[in-house]
Amino acid sequence: MQREGVCIIGYGETAYTNREERSLDVYLAEAMKGALDNAGISKEEVRGMAEGSMFLQEYTPHLAERLGLELDWVQRVDCGGASGIVSIRRAADAIQAGSLDVAVCLCGGARHLHPAGPTSLWARDYVDPFGAGGPAAAIAITQRVHMAKYGTTRQQLGKIAVSQRENALLNDKAYFRTPLTMEEYLNAEMIADPLGLYDCCRRVNGAAAVIVASERRARELSANPIYLVSDAERTNFQAKEQLIDGTLSGFSAFSDELFSRISREQIDFAQLYDGFPFVVLMQLEDLGFCKKGMGGSFIDSHDLTYKGDFPVNTGGGQLSSGQPAGGGSLLFVAEAVRQLRGEAGPRQVKNAKAGLVGGLGLFSYTSPIMCAAAMILERR
């Protein structure tokens, strides 16, 4: 939907690390503190909280109590890796409805102390007895279809991982900060064929936070608010069908509506959820940057680094930053706002004015993307 009167005024992130074993609230608190500092406001301004960490072990109001928040609005979001974007959509809806002016959205993970949360009962009973391949197996099966049907190669997907690593070298919060070569990508240990080690994220501890505000309050509080232009989500695409084309995802259901105000050509960068390079390619295709099946040649013909003609995951994405275990997609939003404000330092995309953020989460029984969500942000 096209969005009116909602801004993002601050973002914060922890470093993504496995060096320490702290509990989730510690990471969320640090990310939120960073977001408040970045917005230049005190926590008393925040009257709402949306929380999307998959493996949160307590109720959301308990977390709010721990953070010292007194709230008029609280929201739990459980859309897996789409939760970050969905939490911002929920906050934007509440702000437009007049329920509150300022909300914080939080997502993170602490893999040592909180390794798991609720599960899919179908995955537990009808998938895992056949090899328990986890997310990698589900993606691998669909990637193989794409490779067979459209001729997509591992080199093309590898370019996503390699380019993002180049971006991560300039991100001091990233987990991986050494170069990755195409040879290393191609020759890495197989996890679930055709997915190798560098197709997979390293699970880490960490969190991100974003402050969402009504335009009226944003103008009072912030010198450089970033505007939410449009946003959409789809859960359970083609769920009623049986023999679906598994390479097509829910992003295709809302893509034209998403770009109705700011076109694809006006987008200066894309921050796309990257549990695996293949889902970046799926988003590029299903959001209409190229025809279905042409994602591989789109990747071949563009420079995906922060200095390229189509920058993707300018902070390194989860493939290089690491994936906060069950930690939603707010790190992509944080990087988008950072870029639009011109605060990205050495990896700044020149004159970035509009950016796309895509998130996806959870697995259907035979489809690798259950929840798809996206939004467009703009500097005005």
């Binding site: 056949f130 090899g131 986890g134 691998a140 996890i191 049986q242 023999l243 029984y365």
Partner: protein
Amino acid sequence: MQAVKPKLPSMVELNDRTFWEGVQNEKFLLQRCSDCGRLQFPPGPVCRNCFGSHLFWEQACGRGTIYSFTAIHVPASPFFKQQIETSGRPIIQAFIDLEEQVRIVSEIVDCDPGELRLGARVSLMFQKIEGTDFKLPKFRVSG
């Protein structure tokens, strides 16, 4: 090496119990909706197409084709890790399109993943989980 115990499917719900008891009797059961006629799997409380609640069980013929597959080298569970170490072979997990026009997840046994092709014809068999008497419905490439 200490044997790691496998996780068996939960059979708390009647629909799940009916399906897995069918498997123990070497039958693969699908739900058919008596209102719209659609088949579905995994089992659920209603027809996911028309929301009808009159579902009955129908046995699948056991033939299908491979929509796609993966060879799992590094699984998420210790049980399968041990199985792969012992056998020295990855586990082939596949999406199988049954002749009844239903897509299911299963495992392909007795097969070299390098020889396997999309669209290959497969047939149903039943195999006990190692160390248990519990059978799982698996597939092998038909001749």
